[in-house]
Symmetry: C3
């Protein structure tokens, strides 16, 4: 854990998507106590029909570059840690690959420690 699912529009390069994945991981490492070598993520690309976003909700001007980041993690972080994670993800993605901070959408799903098996059929965190 965490397990991260990223959704975005089609059409970006491998380097661009690698930067997104790498920097989300770096932000989790820096703010969420996630070990350096603990990274499990998928990225799914969508055409326009299969990807809907609001271009203005809450007064935030989003573009087709918007990225949805859904992170499932243990329910052990404080509200302050969550704020730090969101801020750091937006900051790092704005540096590389150059996403506008308005286009960084993050959702966190929290589960119990006993809800993970990271291999070998064992519940390593239970």
């Amino acid at each position: 854990m965490p397990l991260v699912h990223i959704s975005m529009r089609h059409g970006k390069s491998d380097a661009y998507r690698k930067a997104i994945i790498g920097n989300i991981h770096r932000a989790m490492h820096e703010t969420f106590d996630v070990p350096e070598d603990n990274g499990f993520m998928t990225l799914t690309e969508h055409d326009a029909t299969n990807f809907r976003f609001s271009a203005s909700y809450l007064g935030i001007a989003r573009t087709e570059d918007v990225v949805f980041i859904q992170i499932t993690a243990n329910d052990t972080r404080t509200a302050e840690q969550k704020k730090a994670l969101f801020q750091r993800i937006a900051q790092l993605l704005s540096e590389h690959p150059g996403l506008r901070p308005e286009d960084v959408f993050v959702n966190l799903i929290e589960v119990r420690k006993e809800n993970w098996s990271l291999g070998n059929g064992l519940a390593q965190y239970a």
Copy 2:
């Protein structure tokens, strides 16, 4: 928020999938206090091997048109609101694009308000 992931079989038209996305959003707006301009959704299409459903569980006759709708939202709704949402989604999708109500499968994941960043690295609901 909410963030909605829709899964279905390949082979439907753009108009059909747009109707699904639009009517799920309308149902959330009408029953779940979701603002008109707050819609964040992805849709993923699968071939037969990568999409399994039960054709009879609970005595409900499902077909290959079945759609899985997974909605992540704040944990602020009552059980009555959830029932209203499920009913309204099935009703609107049966009108357009014409899904059988038996083929509408919905799951709701609830999270805390502090678990969202809708842009700019901030936790807007915290």
Copy 3:
């Protein structure tokens, strides 16, 4: 319910992916009180850029065959049932299609019974 999302790299045969889906369902049936005819699952295949995993986290040697299994289910199971589920999934997948137990990654998201509609716009478990 449950609703299962499986993520893995591209390149495996239909038979291989069918074995994964079928054996995850069998493990849920045997350990999680899931009826035989209650199976709702999607599988998404990714290229290397869109799929990141740790090859060593917690001392577990994973390969490109690693499979992420995310199960959303009712919050009615004990920690012991969860352990039994993880163990049985790894065991059955190692038998068929022959996954290394190190390559079986499972995460469980728990929700309330009232959070499901399995068709017809009704909340069948509420």
